[in-house]
């Protein structure tokens, strides 16, 4: 089950600097997979990925998430002087509560910013920021 990966789009935003853990996450996103972590010892699920389980201190394992979630909270950014964001105003920054439990930050796109609301069902898609590196984004869930 892979999400759409949008390629060939110019990426002027800051890019993640891949470290040994985050590399796995960003490269999976480049293939259309949204990864979270699951701890086999205590059952905790977490985002963002880390070298340890935040609940018990154990060794988390990668798990592919469904890519579905709901908007937990959001803001509409109407002022940002930083390039390239200043050319994209207004846009939505949201916390998305994944079906699996963890919350993650992202942009909700493909919708009028004034129509975004808490509880809105959203689904993930990826934008390729550089070859083999994808960044997860969100849009209203189909259906």
């Amino acid at each position: 089950m892979s999400a759409q990966v949008v390629t060939g789009q110019e990426w002027a935003r800051p890019k993640p600097a891949k470290d040994p853990v985050s590399r796995v996450y960003w490269e999976a996103a480049g293939r259309g997979e949204l990864l979270i972590q699951h701890c086999p010892a205590c059952g905790n699920r977490q985002w963002y990925p880390r070298a340890v389980c935040t609940l018990c201190g154990g060794d988390p394992e990668w798990e592919q998430a469904s890519g579905r979630g709901t908007v937990y909270t959001f803001t509409i950014i109407r002022q940002n002087y930083a390039k390239p964001f200043r050319d994209e105003l207004p846009y939505v920054v949201a916390m998305v509560e994944l079906e699996e439990g963890p919350m993650m930050m992202g942009n909700v796109t493909d919708v009028d910013v004034d129509d975004v609301h808490i509880g809105m069902p959203v689904e993930v898609y990826m934008i390729e920021a550089e070859a083999g590196l994808g960044v997860p984004f969100w849009r209203p869930a189909a259906g």
Partner: protein, 390 residues
């Protein structure tokens, strides 16, 4: 020997605009004024606390500043929790003094943020386009959130869960501005109305321009010592009755619950240590980076129940003449916010407890509470200060 920890001297550097001072000079000037305030010889300082972190060209970390100011310390602490650092410093400094690790501690802060960076800080962005970002912020920076946007997400969630309104948040800014009008140094002094706030430009929904703090220069310093030593100093001592700190996250995406801060831990713990309850507090200094920050601190500290901050504000308690006056120096919202405002909370609380707050003086002020919020509602430090020996 009575080792009860006290705050003996306080000093502010120049604010809100001091284009001729760099951040290090703000540290130095504030130290001079704090020492002059209490009449303590500089040579007596044997502990130093400084969060540093003002950034830019200046270097103001604890060990560098200990050298620059020439503090021959036997106790040093560089705890940096953002704007709340100084409430954590009160907690740590009080423990060090009580324990005998040192006798007299200097705490300093300085920032030339306005003169150096201008007002774009909150929404100016820190990353160059196309640059690579390391650490946990790599999971946030690609999405273009702003500093204001982080707080806006908390405000939005509070509105959703509890029906809090923009007008209720605006009341906070209006009340603080009333006090700013009494402070000749405050950045913004003209009276404002709720309508002014909610019709000011939207920066990050639902926070408007007037929901956001000023961006200023400024610095501060305070001297902590034992009650014993303070007897011979120039000012009446202000006692540390209870102090505590807690942290839930650092980056906003990791906030476990967007309507509950670590103040819900550090507030009750500070009260327990002081043996007091919210009813005993005569005035509050809350970190007001944004109006929502005040609301969440108010609830966390237990002045009202979770979710009831909006109606509490509506009842006017936080205003001049109310039962719990807020930010009598004009706050970060209207007076000064040089990046890490927490030291101003302590200094103004001390002035109130000494009865030196001029027109803004709260009558019969015996207990004051300072609650700092650092990061993105992340690390909340609480210091309860009093006029009477505990």
């Amino acid at each position: 020997m009575d080792r009860t920890p006290v705050i003996a001297g306080v000093g502010l550097s120049d604010y809100p605009k001091a284009p001729d001072l760099d951040g290090v000079q703000h540290h130095a000037l504030a130290m001079q004024r704090a020492l002059a305030d209490c009449g303590l010889p500089k040579a007596e300082i044997d502990g130093y606390i400084n969060a540093g972190g003002s950034g830019g060209m200046m270097v103001d970390d604890a060990v560098t500043m200990a050298e620059y100011l020439r503090i021959d310390h036997r106790y040093i602490d560089s705890t940096m929790t953002g704007g709340s650092s100084f409430e954590f410093h009160v907690q740590h400094g009080a423990a060090a003094i009580r324990d005998g690790a040192c006798d007299t501690i200097l705490v300093t802060y300085g920032s030339d943020q306005l003169s150096r960076m201008g007002r774009m800080l909150g929404t100016g962005g820190f990353q160059r386009p196309g640059s690579h970002v390391a650490g946990p912020v790599q999971y946030e920076v690609p999405y273009g959130n702003s500093l204001v946007g982080a707080y806006a997400m908390a405000a939005r969630r509070h509105m959703h869960e509890f029906g809090t309104t923009s007008e209720q948040l605006a009341e906070i800014a209006v009340g603080v501005r009333e006090f700013a009008a009494l402070n000749p140094h405050a950045m913004y002094r003209d009276p404002i109305t709720v309508d002014d706030v909610v019709s000011s430009r939207m920066i990050a929904d639902p926070l408007h321009k007037l929901d956001c703090c000023a961006i200023t220069d400024g610095g501060g310093a305070f001297v902590m010592t034992t009650a014993e030593r303070a007897r011979d100093l120039a000012q009446s001592p202000v006692y540390v009755l209870g102090a505590a700190g807690a942290q839930t996250h650092w980056n906003i995406s990791q906030m476990p619950d967007f309507t509950t801060t670590a103040g819900a831990k550090s507030g009750p713990e500070a009260f327990a240590r002081a043996g007091l309850t919210p009813d005993d507090v005569d005035m509050v200094m809350f970190y007001d980076s944004f109006t929502i920050t005040v609301l969440l601190l108010l609830e966390g500290m237990g002045f009202c129940k979770r979710g009831e901050g909006g109606p509490f504000v509506d009842e006017g308690h936080l205003k001049r003449g109310g039962k719990l006056p807020l930010n009598t120096d004009g706050g970060g919202l209207s007076s000064s916010h040089p990046g890490m405002r927490g030291i101003f909370l302590i200094i103004e609380a001390v002035r109130q407890l000494r009865g030196q707050a001029g027109e803004a003086q709260v009558p019969d002020c015996n207990v004051a509470l300072a609650a700092g919020s650092g990061g993105w509602l992340s690390a909340i430090g609480t210091a309860i200060l009093g006029k009477e020996h505990p």
